[in-house]
Symmetry: C2
Subunit: 344 residues, 2 copies
């Protein structure tokens, strides 16, 4: 159970402490911008093998922590491991991203979460190893995709920028869609509780496609399922939870209702306008990943601005979206220096 090492800076921020130097980690920090990741990736048969081989997943998770001394390690895994564990066929097309056998209405009634613990056993093993190998200061973050986001891939059979297939499916087959969301809520609670049991100290829920939800469906597709997950996990595990509704736009404030410990902010949220408006204890994120690619003054200005805007408030420094593969490693080093300067 979390609570033994709760002097870790991220846990302090999540409990509501405003730190002079904010804790720092980066979404997708273990990834293709790192040469050591690309070397490992080149040797593996598939992306799925990376996620489901504890030796490799552990090493990938540790790579950015070793190089940059981030305050957190985030488990190397994929949000589509849940559909995989539910029995949907999943593979990764080289250079094209994930592919799944698109769900039919009938297939949805056949989904069962009975095999989640067994099929995802390697993930829990990775977490157990990581918890031992991580130095006392570094927090281990587990994660899962939010039901809407995961459903968009399950229905389309691939990623899509407008979630067209899922949006139409939800309107045409509302009962089957509701059943899918229910299965995902339950499976995700199981999965996250098992992550905490294995050693995850913080959880993050990624609603990566919040931007594609029509305003009138945000409550039903996203806020309600996320609330049920947060409540379901808390009924069985004591763990701080971060929610990241990327692209929620004018609906961001509605995510306060979930009662998460932190909300992660994308790059399109004007900090000065939400700092006072959001009620969630801790905030996270907001740095434009393109400023990390540009480096120099473009990066410096923005880091200082964010630190000033968030000073005196519980905050975890992070990007507003995952780090992009074209990011120079030296700019990440520059970022670490800027965030850790005493005076913002």
């Amino acid at each position: 159970m979390v609570g033994l090492e709760n002097d870790k800076v991220i846990l302090r921020a999540l409990r509501g402490e405003a730190l002079e130097v904010p804790p720092l980690w980066l979404m997708r920090q273990a990834g293709r911008y790192l040469p050591e990741y690309r070397a490992l990736r080149a040797k593996a048969k598939s992306f799925l093998e990376l996620c489901l081989t504890p030796d490799i997943a552990e090493e990938i998770t540790l790579q950015p922590v070793r190089r940059f001394g981030f305050d957190a390690a985030i488990l190397f895994a994929d949000i589509l491991l849940v559909p995989y564990a539910l029995g949907q066929k999943l593979w990764f097309q080289e250079g094209e991203g994930p592919r799944l056998e698109p769900l039919t209405v009938d297939a949805i009634s056949g989904l069962t979460r009975a095999e989640v613990p067994e099929r995802l056993a390697p993930v829990f093993e990775t977490i157990r190893r990581l918890r031992k190998s991580l130095a006392g200061e570094t927090t281990l973050i587990g994660f899962a995709g939010a039901p809407w986001t995961v459903a968009t891939y399950m229905i389309a059979g691939a990623g899509s920028d407008d979630s067209a297939a899922a949006r139409l499916f939800a309107l045409k087959e509302p009962k089957a869609f509701a059943r899918l969301i229910d299965v995902l809520v339950d499976a995700t609670v199981d999965y996250l509780v098992a992550q905490v049991s294995a050693g995850a100290e913080v959880l993050q829920l990624f609603e990566s496609w919040a931007a594609t939800i029509p305003a009138e469906s945000v409550a039903v597709y996203s806020i309600d399922p996320l609330t049920r997950i947060v409540e379901g996990v808390r009924a069985k595990a004591s763990v701080p939870i971060i929610v990241f509704p990327r692209g929620a736009g004018s609906n961001y404030l509605r995510y306060d209702a979930i009662g998460a410990d932190a909300l992660s902010l994308d790059t399109h949220v004007l900090l000065d306008s939400v700092v006072g408006a959001l009620k969630t204890t801790c905030l996270q994120g907001n740095l434009d990943p393109f400023r990390l690619i540009a480096g120099g003054k473009a990066l410096e200005d923005s880091v200082r601005h964010i630190r000033r805007a968030m000073s005196g408030r519980p905050f975890i420094f992070n990007l507003g979206h995952g780090i992009r593969q074209e990011t120079p490693v030296e700019h990440v080093q520059q970022l670490v220096r800027l965030v850790r300067e005493k005076a913002a």
Copy 2:
């Protein structure tokens, strides 16, 4: 000059009148969901030929008005005609969308608006013909892309969902980027004033990629250039202007500052939350294009909800995004019936 036929319903809404039955048109109403459009498209050599041949562009513009009796016809053209008129090479790759020769820093200083009137002369001819052929009741809408949106295509050489190339360019080459925006502001004012002179009665500015602008750059990349265009056009022409910052999210309220006559709302804006907050005279849009594909009760519920939420307020009924090609024509007929019912 506008003003002679100002009993047209769209003009009344734009002047601030709340109509019991809101005026109706659809973004991208002249397009691939119509069999008569596909027939014309199949005969033409290229998409550019459709835009720049007055006979064809006029016919395409009129097709949806004939079929559905919409309250407005929107000129059939493309937002990339401005880069084309500025001298950038433009072509349309069959099935893949627009392609341009990507802009370099040097090429930006070579852009000039001198040839805009001549290169776009066929567009103005189309407008003159349309103004004659449209029945007295139907308003003719002209349009242009907003500078940020147009710049994303000019810099990347193609459409992109994250505007990655433009975002990085703007950070790395701020002076060249500012010069590009300036050229686009001036050329767009020229282009729109010429549209009004030819007979356009309303103008719409499409900031179709507002969603990709980082919050701290919304003012500089989008609101300031749009404000300059609105002021520039108004200095020379008396015409109502609609601004559509698609995906502006939590930054939507900031677009009030432009002083447009109407703001068009995407599908992600919760109507009830903005109706009171936005100060712009007239609102437009919001219907989810996927509900138009689904039809039936999904469509009916949403049309009634929008009409109720906007009743008593100047409003133009429209989609929150362009109509999709897979939309059944019968559902558009259903929409027209629902919007024109007396009791909402």
